[in-house]
Structures are given as C-alpha cells and as structure tokens.
C-alpha cells in the first residue's frame, strides 16, 4: 500500500492535472453527469411517488378494513368472486352487533356509475349509502359543512355529502352547502363537502357522494346489491385483531363450512401497495437501464482520457519512478485522478438535477396546478448525493484501472527516454 504522504501527493497531482486540463476534464465527465442526473431523478421520482401515495393512504385511513364480496387487489378468479353470495344488509348488521374489537362497523351500499344532476348539469359519479358512523372515519373529513347525523340517517333525510371531485366539477365557484343536488330525480340538500383524498391515479375516490342508507334504499333499492362493511380499527396495531374477529363472525353469519375458504374478502389500503410497487419497479427498471447506459458510455470516456493522460505524462512517470515511486504509488496516482474526475462529474450533475427537480415541481404545482404534487419535495435528498458520488467514484476506479495499471508497469528507462 502507498504511504499517506504518497496518497496526499497523488491527490495533489490529480487536482492539479484536472485543473490544468479543465475543459477537457469537464467534457470527459459528461457521461457521468448524465448518469448521475438520471440516478438522482429516478430516486426523487420514486420518493415523490411514495409521498403522494402515503398522503392518499393516510386520508383513506390506514386503520380501516373493508369487508367486501370483491377483492381490491384483484386477487382470485373473477368468476369465483362473481359466484360469491352477496353480503346482505342483514349480514352487515349482524356483524355490527357481534363485533367487539372495532371502533365502528359501517355498512355501505354503492352504486357505481350513478349520476347526479345540479340544475341542468349532470355528472356521473358513484353513490354511496352509509350510516352516520362513516362520519367518524378519516375519509369523511369535511372541507365545508358536516357529515349527516344519526337522526338524519334514521329518518332517511334527503341530505348528501359530496366528494371533492364532485364539488370542484359542479361548484367551481364554491358554496355548495345548502345547494340542491338531484339523485335519481330526487332532490337532496348538500350538507357537507369532503376534503380532497385521491391523488394522481386515485381520483375516483373523490368522485362520489354519500347519502343515508335509507335514502339510498329509496333512490336505488337494496335488491341485488352486495354491501361493503367498513371496519374502523382505531389504530394500525388493531388491524390484525379486528381482521381475525371479523373473519370469524362473518364465516359464522354466512355459514361457511369449516374447511371452506372465506366467501368474502377483507380489503385494506395495503392492497394498493401492490399496484404502486409495479409502478415503482417500472421507474426503477427504466431508470437503472438508462443510468447503466450513461455510466458505461461515461466510463469509456474516462478510460480513454486516462489513457491519454498516462501517455502525456510518460516522462513524468519515468521521473517519479527514477526517484523512488513504487508501482503502487503510480497506480494510486492515476486511480485517484480518475475517481476525482468522476466525483467532479457527480458534483456538476447535482445542481443540474436539482434545477430539473425544482423546475418540474414548479411546473406541476404552479403552472399546471396539480395539487397532489404539493406533497413532493422540491429538493433532492442528501442521501442521493452520497449514493451518486459513491457510485461515480467506483465507476472512476473501474474505468481508471487499466490505464493506471499501464502507467504503473511502465519501464522507468523507457519512460525517461520518452519525448513528446
């Protein structure tokens, strides 16, 4: 191993050499710069996606379970799911009576692809009939107004709480509360507007309206309708307890034979993680592919310029060897130079990537007015800088190895005799 004094000397020479050939050095690092920019952008994109996703999940409620005939994650065979018996209101209410561990047990009836009419404007959205308990879930947080009460629920009042998407579509100027919205030609009074919940590809969540269960029955009927049962667990820690208890009761209620599988599904927000996993994987694969390409091209450039550097400095290598530089010293000298070249590339890349990131966020939030983008950080996380510099240095060491080896093996007599 070279001594510390030699490494310091090597470092000094390397910095000196990069400075003397400044333009050449910068041009050489272009490939590395592109690679690092790509790595950083990829990391930032995945990070941003996670942030958006986390936001969505936390609003829907991480402590929620949804018992349903259907499986959200799309697991199982569609025909098998279709063949399941509907979950009836009666079953939902029996579950509610028996459940002990859940905070709230909330039957829900849904009409997908329904429509609402405000004045002459019609909007297609899903219509959900539920109990006032739904008002206690985080998904029912209101922007304006309130959720309906138990009294309103029992008396089948024609009141409606609208999702944020419905609100912005029909009331672009605001003031939806107390307005009239027709559902199946029956006028309902708007009493609340929900906060925005769905981000990005989850927009459908905001495109629904909530009415009391009995009002729903009046409007759409319960015939041939499978109910969902929302279970609010109170905390994520309670999910397992509630899930186990709910499955036990529901099997008993629906007379599932002991050795038969559940004829219903328990859905939770985790199910969506699978979907984002694929998106993340996609970004990762494309990103890594492009990055590898950039680094391979970049390292060829580095290797090339290092060969040039070794040739240019043959005489210098001869002098150093004559006065006592060992092979390892010369090897270290050129490896350090090549690693520094790449590290410099990473440092050049960072402001570029930061500018792109800040620009992208500004465009999304302030120009395109995409609210979901607000949760994405406009800054590149520091750990990405560390990773990028580390990767670049490793690329530099690999790319510089062959030229450095050639330098270290030069014969001192030949090297001293070399004239440019």
């Amino acid at each position: 191993m070279p001594r510390l004094s030699e490494l310091q000397e090597s470092f000094r020479i390397a910095v000196d050499s990069l400075r003397v050939n400044l333009l050449r050095s910068i041009l050489t690092t272009a490939g590395i710069v592109v690679g690092v920019v790509l790595v950083v952008l990829m990391g930032w994109t995945i990070g941003g996606l996670n942030a958006v996703w986390e936001q969505t999940i936390s609003i829907i409620g991480k402590d929620m379970l949804y018992m349903d005939k259907w499986d959200w994650a799309g697991g199982g065979n569609w025909r098998e799911l279709e063949a399941r018996k509907d979950i009836t209101l009666n079953q939902a209410e029996m579950l509610k009576l028996r459940m002990e561990s859940a905070q709230f047990v909330i039957p829900m009836a849904r009409k997908w692809g329904g429509s609402v009419v405000k004045g002459n404007t019609s909007l297609s959205c899903s219509i959900t009939g539920t109990t006032s308990d739904y008002g206690f879930t985080s998904a029912a947080a209101t922007l304006d107004g309130r959720f309906f009460t138990t009294t309103e629920e029992h008396s089948a009042e024609r009141v409606v709480v609208i999702g944020h998407g419905v609100y912005t579509s029909l009331w672009p100027d605001g003031n939806a509360v107390d307005a009239i919205l027709k559902i199946n030609r029956v006028p309902f009074r708007v009493i609340g507007v929900l906060q925005k919940q769905g981000f990005l590809f989850m927009d459908f969540i905001d495109n629904q309206v909530f009415i009391p269960l009995k009002a729903f029955r009046a409007a759409h009927g319960f015939y041939d309708r499978s109910f969902d049962v929302a279970l609010k667990c109170g905390s994520e820690a309670m999910l397992d307890v509630v899930r186990t208890e709910a499955i036990g009761h529901m099997r008993a209620i629906r007379n599932v034979a002991p050795d038969a599988p559940n004829d219903f599904s328990i859905n939770e927000t985790k199910a969506f993680d699978e979907q984002t996993k694929n998106i993340r994987l996609g970004i990762w694969v494309v990103g890594i592919g492009l990055t590898l390409l950039a680094f391979v091209v970049g390292s060829i450039g580095i290797m090339n310029i290092m060969y040039v550097s070794v040739t240019e400095r043959t005489k210098e290598i001869g002098i150093r060897k004559a006065i006592g530089a060992r092979r390892s010293s010369i090897l270290a000298q050129f490896l350090i130079e090549s690693a520094l070249l790449c590290a410099a590339g990473a440092l050049i890349a960072f402001p570029i990537a930061q500018a792109i990131v800040a620009g992208a966020r500004f465009t999304a939030v302030d120009v395109l007015e995409q609210d979901w983008a607000r949760v994405i950080s406009p800054f590149i996380p520091l750990d990405l800088l560390v990773i990028a510099v580390t990767v670049s240095v490793i690329v530099g060491l690999l790319a510089g190895f062959m030229p450095a080896l050639r330098a270290s093996r030069l014969d001192p007599v030949d090297a001293l005799r070399y004239e440019q």
């Binding site: 004094s5 000196d16 060897k321 004559a322 006065i323 006592g324 530089a325 060992r326 001192p412 001293l416």
Partner: protein, 231 residues
Amino acid sequence: MSKAIIDIEHLVKRYEMGDEEVYALRDVSLTIGDNEYVAIMGPSGSGKSTLMNILGCLDTPTSGKYLFNGANVAEMDDDDLASIRNREIGFVFQTFNLLPRATSLKNVELPLVYAGVSAEERTRRASEALARVQLADRMSHKPNELSGGQRQRVAIARAIVTAPCIILADEPTGNLDTKTGQDIMSLFSDLWKAGNTVILVTHEEDVAQHARRIIRLRDGKIESDTQNHHA
C-alpha cells in the same frame, strides 16, 4: 580502498532487437568504493548509458552479479529497486527532468514524499538541500522561471535530499554552456569533498577530468580504468 558500495562481476546486458541479439555490455566487472569520484566515459554505443541504468537500479542485467551495499540487485523486484533508487541513489540527468508544474521546493521534496517523510520534515530537508546548491532564494520558482544552470542545481538538490550512498549524474553539463557547466562541476567536487560518492557518465573529456578515477568503455567492455592525477 574503502568499503565497496558497488560490486559488479561479469555483467552482461543483452537486448533482443527483432531476430538480432545486441550486447550492450559484455562481461563488465567493476568495484566502486565509498567516497569515490568516478567518471564513466565512452563514445555513444559504448554501453555507458546501459551501465548507468543498471548502476542506478533502473534496469537489471541479463546475467552477472551486481551487489549494491552487499545486496544482490539482480534478485530484487520492482518495489525493492524503487526503494533503493529512492534512498540510496540520487540521479542527475542531462535534461534535468524536473516536474514542470512543481516549484523548486516541491521538486526537491518529491523523493521524500515517496520515502514517507512527514510534510514538515520534507520542507525542512528540501530547504536545506536547496541552500546547499545556493538556491535558497528560488524555492517557490517553477522550472520555467529558472535558468538551465539553476534547474540543474535544483536537480542536484533533489538528488542529495535523501542523503543517498551515490550520486549518479548522466551528462550533467550536456545542456549547459561552458561557464555554467563549470559551476555545476565544481558543485559535484564540493559534494565529493563533503563525503559523497559521485559517479559521472559523460563523453566529454574535460568534464571527466574533474573525477579522480576514469573508466573508459568501448563496445560494451571496460577499455581502461585509471586514477586521474590531474584533478
């Protein structure tokens, strides 16, 4: 004669040039002791450069024995040779061979860098060496800011900074005018008088006349080895 620093017996150096074998040295035997002042002379092609490269541990012989301070150089690997060059041999070249972008001080410090000497100690010893060649006031100058004679004196300072066993000078005045050349030669004489062993390689008779012993090579063999009583 005092203790032998260089002890060569039956040294042969053979190069392969295509199909031809070229003998640069044929059976050279030689002993050089401590504090000698030797000039190795000969026309070009006589093998004196090859001999100097071998003596300086820059190259190894094809066959024969070379003992440097009792150690067999022929058996050494690259790192051992580098270490000997670093600690025991000070080179002075015809073309000075200074690093162009480094100051005089940094150039002189360089052998100490490879010897693992601390920065502080390096600066102290390099300054001393520069003072010995009367360049104390040119420490922060780069080679292109110095005259030829000054550059060669920086090179001499670099050669003596590690206090080596021998100083090996290859045509040290070849690129200098006569007057400057004489200054440099008197510097070598001073070093010899101060106890150093100096080996000059030259083809100039008047340069060789500064040495106390003159070895003449011809066709890869020693033609004569005489004490010089003129100096």
